[in-house]
Amino acid sequence: MRGALLAAAGVLLAASAVLAQDPDLARRQAEAAAAIAGRAEEETVLAEGEGRSEVFAYCTVCHNTALIRRSAFTRDRWDELMDWMAEKHGMNPLEGEFRQAIVDYLATHYGPRQRGPRGGNPFLD
């Protein structure tokens, strides 16, 4: 009887332990996310060209270059995004020649391209 009660209590404890979360997994996931977000990047992940250093320095304060590398916008849309980043996300507004240099670089190296709906060519390569 006592043994059964103890066993039952043990099951209950085990069940509530599961529900109480593996606090350590939560911590490890948060740390893993921070580590991924904190991965260092080299300037050379961006296309070579005039203005690259400026773009790398100015544009990786908040996010990494993945957002730039996956983009394919016209000059006009890059220009528009500079205002959006300043208005919505607190980027120091870009003006004058510096803005021109940055937008030129982006439009030259990350201009429109036709992309497919999915990544990785399944039958070629």
């Binding site: 606090p23 893993a32 996310a33 993945a66 983009s71 849309r77 996300h89 429109p112 497919g116 039958f123």
Partner: protein, 434 residues
């Protein structure tokens, strides 16, 4: 001007510049593929193209429609190999064929972060949420209070990023270039938001909500995101303050220890690491509201044009969509395969899905699949069916859902908007038999 037809130019580049011309140049193709042109295209794709006659001119086959350099994958304890969309902010998409479970397990749940993932809390039971604004009595509740004072409900709820399908937009729209994989349907346990709002004494003047969470902006200045909705959605019986996902505490990556769940509407309303909801007389003005954020044109605009979104409308119920989970894009099947047993999930925001159709001949003919009813409102629906193949070779499975109002997924992403919300074009998966 670009030079045409140099031997070093890839098929992709040709198609990018002028699809019709590329067809002609690359394959000697005019109108329909035949003879040597068809053979050439078949070779490039690694097989023959049985339904070449139905392939619209200028339509880059799904297997060719690829970005450069394959995708990168997430590696994280407790998570499957998701497609990495970006590291900072950390975003990852579930490959479509991994969405086969009726209840999405934690490891296959997509990740969307607007800001930084907060640190894990030491004692989740002491986590507090606040209800204030247009209420008679602002209240503060711990996780324990929620469980003790209110009825707990468990529901399967589909929740998808407002930008799911964004990569379908042309020209490209800004944001994570999701395929169809920013979708989930987990089993959530929590208390109805309306019960909690009533306990605080929501006033008649409460017409809108504003949601707040613990994650901080990428610049470390202020909150990552703070969105709100009409009070009607807050009062829906399926809108809950969740405390468990799939019977376990909510994983850290998905908003532990409490998360708002607003099924069928843009995922950004389902505030992670949820700390506070305010009721308001006017629409919320937090980060992620107004302008082009989570808003779509009422009067369609020219794709790629400049627009500040002032006269756009908030995206609410998400449009109809389906995924194919039985066959991965790029699946190779044994010689002689003459039928495909297909399977997937379909959903339609606040609505249900009334039909799923499949075509294996580039849309010339469509076949109805079987669609199960949802196990509860706002859950996704299983679809299944079999299609015949006439021969070995290269095929594309095109799959298309129709919602309970009779609206189908369109052929291409419609209603282009600068930040790319609400794209739900028909999807195409490339299959090679033999």
């Amino acid at each position: 001007m670009t030079q045409q037809g140099g031997p070093e130019r890839s098929v992709h580049e040709l198609y990018r510049d002028d699809p019709e011309r590329a067809d002609a140049l690359a394959w000697g193709r005019r109108g329909v593929l035949k003879g040597a042109a068809l053979a050439a295209m078949g070779t490039a794709l690694g097989g023959t193209i049985p339904f070449a006659r139905q392939m619209p001119a200028g339509l880059l086959p799904a297997a060719l429609a690829q970005g450069q350099g394959g995708p990168q994958f997430l590696e994280m304890e407790g998570k499957a190999r998701l497609i990495l969309q970006g590291e900072r902010p950390l975003n990852a998409e579930t490959p479509e064929h991994l969405l086969d479970d009726d209840v999405t397990p934690a490891d296959k749940f997509f990740i969307r972060n607007n800001g930084s993932v907060p640190e894990a809390v030491a004692d989740p039971r002491t986590w507090k949420i606040t209800i204030d604004g247009e209420v008679n009595t602002p209240i503060e509740l711990t996780l324990g209070d929620l469980e003790r004072r209110f009825e707990l409900v468990t529901r399967r709820l589909q929740m998808e990023c407002g930008g799911n399908g964004r990569s379908g937009f042309s020209p490209q729209a800004a944001g994570n270039q999701w395929g169809n994989g920013a979708i989930s349907c987990a089993e959530w346990t929590g208390v109805r938001l309306r019960d909690v709002l009533r306990a605080a004494g929501a006033k008649d003047s409460a017409k809108f909500t504003g949601h707040h969470g613990a994650d901080s902006h990428l610049s470390a200045q202020g909150p990552a995101i703070s969105r709100g909705m009409r009070i009607e959605k807050a009062m829906d019986e399926d809108t809950i303050i969740a405390i468990r996902m799939n019977g376990a505490p909510i994983p850290q990556m998905h908003g532990a220890p409490t998360r708002l769940m607003v099924p069928g509407w843009p995922g950004s309303l389902s505030q992670k690491w949820f700390t506070r909801i305010e009721l308001r007389a006017s629409p919320h003005s937090g980060r992620g509201m107004g302008g082009t954020s989570y808003r779509v044109p009422v009067r369609p605009i020219v794709p790629g044009s400049r627009n500040n979104g002032a006269d756009f409308a908030d995206l609410e119920s998400m449009p109809v969509r389906c995924v194919l989970t039985s066959h991965a894009h790029g699946a190779r099947l044994p010689t002689g395969t003459r039928a495909l047993d297909l399977r997937g999930q379909a959903w339609a925001g606040d609505l249900t899905v009334s039909a799923v159709h499949v075509s294996v001949d580039f849309g010339a003919t469509w076949q109805a699949m079987t669609v199960n009813p949802p196990p509860n409102r706002h859950a996704w629906q299983r679809w299944t069916g079999r299609v015949a193949l006439p021969s070995d070779g290269y095929f594309e499975v095109w799959y298309r859902a129709t919602d309970s109002n009779g609206r189908m997924q369109p052929h291409v992403a419609a209603n282009w908007n600068p930040q790319g919300y609400g794209a739900n074009p028909i999807s195409r998966a490339a299959i090679l038999v033999g």
